[in-house]
């Protein structure tokens, strides 16, 4: 304490040892309770000769243990936007993250942490009065809020557009040739009296691609039911198989042909990637389907399936958001839905206003992305960091 006072007295003359302003200790924002943060304003005209030493203790009176020591050229709040965001004042404030104490035998956490800051210059040392804070787990991760806001905006836009589509169902949707060809393929299968093969990809039911694929199956099954064609859905995942059965049952019921529905048309094959391929390739060679539809998420097996299907003379239509497999479907299928078109397919086929509304929302989302890209590029050219910060992820 005396040393501190002495330092304050000296401070007017030189930079010998001055205590920085605004020393504060607080719980680290937006963390799981693993640390506290000590922060202070930088000294006027500090340089590399000034060293900050931060010591911690379990009580106000010590014993003190050194937690961090660094020259004044580093350790700025601006280095950790994860906690402090991008305020310009961050460049003038130092901080140190101090990990929580492990609770000892018989102790219960979290433990209050006492922190003391010392300023060491070549000629002298000064110390602040100790302050304390208790690390606590937080209920909101503020730096991730931008993502949350984006989700809310997109959600609100989706609901607004769905409502609008309900009022005015005559929305324009551009042609997707692959989906128009689907109708034709089902018709051809009916004429030839041969089955249609529908695959859902190799992901499980909690994958969005598979969800989209089962929705498309619903639309395909409606047409199959009304044309009275055969459909066969070999599955890689038993849960997907069950969902496909439900989806098809619904389709057959709503097309007024509940008696044509056969649950065994969706069946489980095996849950080994290439075992599945071996079996499905075999089915293709033996049953010679008139059309093969591949929707959902695929891995290396894409070409093994589509090449074999191609040699049987089937019309092949694929749709996947698996970017690495798109080239192979493009090369071996008659039509391929690329990426987002997979998610537009069910809306396109059903023409239901709700679905079309959310399709328009996707377009709005793209406009927003384009806008951000354009503005972000211009802003970065003008050296404005606002957009960069808006898009920061932690």
């Amino acid at each position: 304490m005396i040393r501190c006072l002495a330092a304050l007295l000296l401070a007017s003359g030189t930079l010998a040892a001055q205590v920085p302003e605004g020393f504060d200790v607080a719980d680290t924002p937006g963390d799981a309770g693993g640390s506290v943060v000590a922060s202070w304003k930088q000294l006027p005209n500090e340089d590399a000769s000034v060293t900050y030493v931060v010591s911690v203790s379990r009580s106000k009176d010590g014993p003190w243990e050194e937690a961090s020591r660094f020259p004044a050229t580093g350790g700025f709040k601006s280095d950790a936007p994860k906690y402090f965001w991008f305020w310009s004042s961050n460049r003038e404030e130092h901080f140190v993250e101090i990990p929580a104490f492990e609770p000892g035998e018989g102790e219960k956490g979290p433990i209050e942490i006492w922190v003391r800051l010392e300023v060491v210059t070549p000629s002298a040392t000064a110390a602040t009065a100790p302050l304390s804070a208790t690390p606590r787990p937080n209920w909101w991760n503020w730096p991730k809020t931008n993502v949350f806001v984006f989700i809310c905006l997109f959600g609100v836009a989706t609901f607004y557009l769905i409502r609008r589509a309900r009022r005015d169902p005559n929305l324009f949707i551009r042609r997707i040739p692959g989906l128009d060809a689907m109708e034709e393929a089902i018709g051809r299968a009916t004429e030839m009296g041969k089955p249609i093969l529908y695959l859902n990809g190799l992901d499980g039911m909690s994958s969005i691609s598979t969800i989209a694929s089962t929705c498309i199956l619903g639309q395909v099954a409606r047409r199959v039911a009304s044309y009275d064609t055969q459909i066969s859905v070999p599955c890689y995942d038993p849960v997907v198989m069950s969902v496909c059965q439900e989806v098809m049952r619904e389709a057959f019921y709503s097309s007024g042909r509940p008696d044509s529905y056969r649950p065994e048309s969706a069946f489980f094959v095996t849950n080994d990637q290439f075992g599945y391929v071996a079996a499905v390739d075999g089915i293709m060679m033996r049953e010679k389907p008139a059309a093969c539809f591949y929707f959902g998420f695929y891995y290396a097996e894409s070409l093994l399936l589509a090449e074999t299907g191609g040699t049987t003379g089937a019309i092949q239509i694929a749709g996947t958001d698996s970017v690495t497999q798109l080239p192979f479907f493009i090369a071996s299928c008659d039509y391929t839905l690329i990426g987002e078109e997979l998610y537009a397919a069910s809306a396109y086929l059903s023409r239901e206003p709700i679905q079309l509304g959310s399709l328009v929302a996707q377009d709005w989302g793209k406009i927003a992305v384009l806008g951000v890209l354009l503005l972000g590029t211009l802003a970065s050219l003008a050296r404005l960091d606002f957009f960069k910060h808006l898009l920061a992820t932690f």
Binding site: M205, Y348, L391
Partner: protein, 286 residues
């Protein structure tokens, strides 16, 4: 056991390859065997890894809240109600959990990694500004010194010298506008145009005519180059796999394994030829 294993391995490898000729009894046998073994194998492996480790061991332990592990078992049992048509609607509860779970997980994760991060990476200045900082200048001087040193050691430009020269040019392009900077800017611009035009291709509710049509057409061209490149880039890995199989066949075809590959190939070709003639006779009679 090893010799038997080798013969089985070679046999099954050839059975699966025989699919390239056409669907035939060997392939059908291999396929059925594969389906059966694969399911049996994962059933047993996961019995230990999931059932024993994640359920049984937890129940035996005295961890607090251990009864929670019965909840997923219950959800799983809901799925099994599908065997009982009367109550099979209960399985929908399980579907709902899985589908809701996947959707909830996906939204923030996809938005962060596929949109926000990508947008941040794309929104770059299209023209590089020379970096006038002291650190940048220092790195240029360092790279220049390294290049000079390498040049002095080797009179002709070897790969190592070339690498130092490239490093120097790279550093210099950050402090002043050089050919390398222009190339980098061109790349950034091309990426920007590519992203922009491909996004236009995906517009669904706007008619593709006028400027939208032009952009979406450029987008399709970008997509096609990408698909071609990606196709060509994968070929290497696939051929490596094929070569790996050939190596295995070669190894097991050696004297240590009593020439399994050669013998089995001859036998298979013999049987397939016989089948071919037998079936042809049948077809003619029909």
């Amino acid at each position: 056991m090893t010799i038997l294993g080798a013969w089985i391995a070679v046999g099954l490898t050839l059975f699966m390859f025989s699919f390239l000729y056409k669907d035939n009894p060997f392939y059908k046998f291999g396929e059925s065997l594969y389906v059966g073994i694969a399911l049996g194998y994962s059933l047993v492996r996961l019995w230990y890894q999931t059932w024993i480790d994640k359920v049984w061991e937890v129940l035996k332990s005295d961890a607090s809240g251990k009864w929670w592990v019965l909840l997923p078992v219950a959800i799983g049992l809901l799925l099994l109600t599908r065997f009982v048509p009367k109550v099979s609607w209960l399985s929908r509860w399980a579907f709902a959990f899985l589908i809701g779970y996947g959707s909830g997980m996906a939204i923030p994760a996809i938005l962060t990694t596929s949109i926000v991060k990508q947008a941040e990476a794309t929104a770059k200045p299209l023209v590089s500004m020379p970096d006038k900082s002291e650190a940048a200048k220092k790195s240029v001087d360092g790279a220049k010194a390294a290049w000079d040193k390498a040049k002095a050691a080797e009179p002709t430009e070897t790969d190592a010298v070339r690498a130092t020269r490239i490093r120097y040019e790279e550093a210099r392009s950050r402090t002043e506008y050089t050919f390398v900077t222009a190339y980098r800017d061109l790349t950034t611009l091309a990426i920007f145009i590519g992203v922009f035009s491909v996004l236009f291709y995906f517009f669904f509710s706007i008619e593709h005519k006028g400027p939208v049509r032009i952009f979406s057409r450029i987008g399709i061209l970008f997509l096609m180059i990408y698909f071609g490149a990606s196709y060509g880039n994968t070929a290497m890995g696939r051929f490596s796999l094929l070569y790996g199989r050939v190596l295995t066949l070669k190894k097991f075809g050696g004297g240590d394994y009593y020439y399994s590959t050669g013998i089995l190939v001859v036998v298979m070709i013999g049987v397939l030829t016989a089948l071919h003639f037998k079936n042809r006779g049948k077809e003619e009679r029909a």
